[in-house]
């Protein structure tokens, strides 16, 4: 879903549909925002939902964003990604409490509502009994997703310092450039496959990682987030043209994406 209700007011929202592809697109306002979404070829052929999620909301000088990678081996990983993605987008636009403790508490508090909704997603009746038993086991263990979320408040001529706040668990990629210098290595040790959020227990594998820093006026920056379906990007440090990112999303060299892929890039 995409809305650009009032370009003059610089308002833009995009929330991925898990049932359709989004070719690489760009929005230009105070932020330059590139976004895309693709399903694994296997899911595409079967007409299944993707298990990633990406959402962004820009309003003038501020931007909220979420990227999720549902855990395929959990029960209905697409559900956890969608639930958490939408819930975090709401939270980012309303909260006034940005401490790690408050965020961790919130991530635990929402498990009740998530579990209640997950209960309604019962395994289909027509599957073989062994598969049904496994799906029921998985349902008891909950649905899981990795995530990165954050909020950017840009500095301006009147307000010299802006701020970026981000939180994450899991191995989705979070890359940050300031003045064309990549400083992503600060995050590498904390991007762990064993960490995620579960509808059953909230944070898994440890507490969420929270990062916050000031943004200086006049310092150009680029933030790039993507799920592991686009891991071909890992080795690329320079700004890629749209068409080259689209080639990675189309993945003709492997007959389509081997895993779902969500992409978001913000520049200011």
């Amino acid at each position: 879903m995409k809305t650009n209700t009032a370009a003059a007011q610089d308002v833009f929202s995009f929330v991925s549909s898990q049932s359709a592809e989004q070719r690489l697109s760009t929005y230009h306002g105070r932020f330059a925002c590139r976004y895309a979404y693709g399903r694994a070829m296997d899911s595409l052929i079967q007409g299944e939902k993707g298990q990633d999620f990406v959402g962004v909301h820009i309003e003038g000088d501020s931007c909220n964003f979420v990227l999720c990678d549902g855990v395929g081996q959990s029960y209905q990983g697409d559900f956890a990604a969608r639930f958490l993605g939408n819930t975090l987008l709401d939270w980012l636009s309303t909260t006034r409490e940005w401490s790690s403790a408050a965020f961790t508490g919130f991530m635990k508090d929402i498990t009740g509502a998530a579990s209640e909704q997950l209960k309604q997603l019962t395994p289909p009746g027509e599957v073989p009994s062994l598969l049904r038993e496994v799906l029921e086991d998985k349902q008891r263990l909950g649905s899981q997703t990795m995530y990165i979320c954050g909020r950017i408040e840009l500095p301006s001529a009147k307000k010299k310092h802006g701020r970026i706040w981000m939180a994450w668990q899991g191995d989705s990629r979070l890359r940050f450039w300031k003045n064309d210098m990549e400083i992503s290595e600060h995050f590498h040790a904390t991007m762990l496959t064993s960490e995620r959020w579960s509808t059953l227990t909230g944070p898994v594998g440890g507490s969420p990682h929270v990062y916050q820093t000031r943004l200086e006026y006049g310092v150009p920056a680029r933030l790039q987030l993507y799920t592991d379906g686009l891991d071909d990007l890992d080795a690329i440090r320079q700004l890629l043209p749209d068409e080259q990112i689209q080639v990675l999303l189309d993945a003709p060299h492997t007959g389509g994406l081997q895993d779902d892929a969500a992409f978001l890039e913000l520049q200011w």
Binding site: D42, Q46, Q73, L130, V134, L135, K138
Partner: protein, 251 residues
């Protein structure tokens, strides 16, 4: 050559089970026939593969399996290689009925033939694995040269892996009291049984990716451990079959 290719629908893992159904498999372990413990452990491994192969409500065929039971002859229990989705559709595994002798060389020969036919089509797939379960000395020809030939076959992901589960109470000088804390059999581990030493020669080193998968299930095998398990209790037999299914898969 590092055993990191993930099992997926497009690049499924191939696992060939060689199950000894000689008469001694009727003997009791923990008040249960050995053959029944093996059947349970194999069923659990299949269930684990189903668990790792579901995405949404769909079972993706990430594993392909052959089960060869052997006595004085070899019995192809699945009539060829079957996808995990086909096995799940049937729901239960074929019965394992003990017979007489234990000619493991014949079983390894049949596994070798399967691999010769399959490997050319598996160049992008995880390295295949042969999981051999036995409770005694092989009758018939020596299986070791055939196992060595199998271990020298390869795909870009790595050489074919051979794992051995040896149901025996006399293999180690100390009983394993805590299977989850056990470090595994290392090349230098002293073995009390000549047949166990032969099976060790036929066992591949445990790849790091498999070791990590087992660590997630809280089994703390040490680096350098071999793919060999003493089946002195049902839990160790179960670990052995879980090891066979520890091919990396996408989370």
């Amino acid at each position: 050559m590092n055993y990191t290719i993930q099992a997926s629908q497009r690049t499924p893992a191939l696992i060939i089970y060689l199950i000894d159904i000689s008469a001694s498999m009727n003997m009791l372990m923990e008040n249960t026939r050995r053959i029944d413990i093996v059947y349970e452990a194999l069923s659990l491994a299949i269930r684990q593969m189903v668990f790792r192969s579901t995405k949404g409500n769909r079972l993706t065929p990430r594993y392909r399996i052959a089960i060869l039971a052997y006595s004085d002859d070899v019995y192809d229990l699945l009539n060829g290689i079957k996808g995990i989705d086909e096995i799940a559709a049937v729901g239960t595994l074929p019965d394992l009925t003990p017979k007489r002798f234990s000619d493991s060389a014949k079983a390894f020969l049949q596994a070798e033939r399967i691999l010769q036919s399959e490997l050319p089509h598996m160049q992008d797939c995880p390295a295949p694995l042969v999981c051999h379960m036995t409770d005694g000395v092989a009758t018939g020809d020596d299986p070791e040269p055939i196992a060595k030939r199998i271990m020298s076959m390869s795909v870009p992901d790595g050489n074919v892996l051979v794992e051995n589960i040896f149901i025996s109470d006399h293999m180690l000088d100390q009983p394993i009291l805590q299977p989850r804390r056990w470090k595994g059999i290392l090349p230098e581990t002293e073995l009390q049984d000549e047949h166990a030493a032969k099976l060790r020669n036929m066992s591949s080193p445990l790849p790091e990716s498999y070791r990590e998968m087992l660590a997630e299930a809280d089994y703390l095998l040490s680096p350098g451990a071999l793919m060999m398990l003493p089946g002195s209790c049902s839990e160790l037999v179960s670990i052995g079959f879980q090891m066979s299914a520890a091919t990396p898969v996408r989370a």
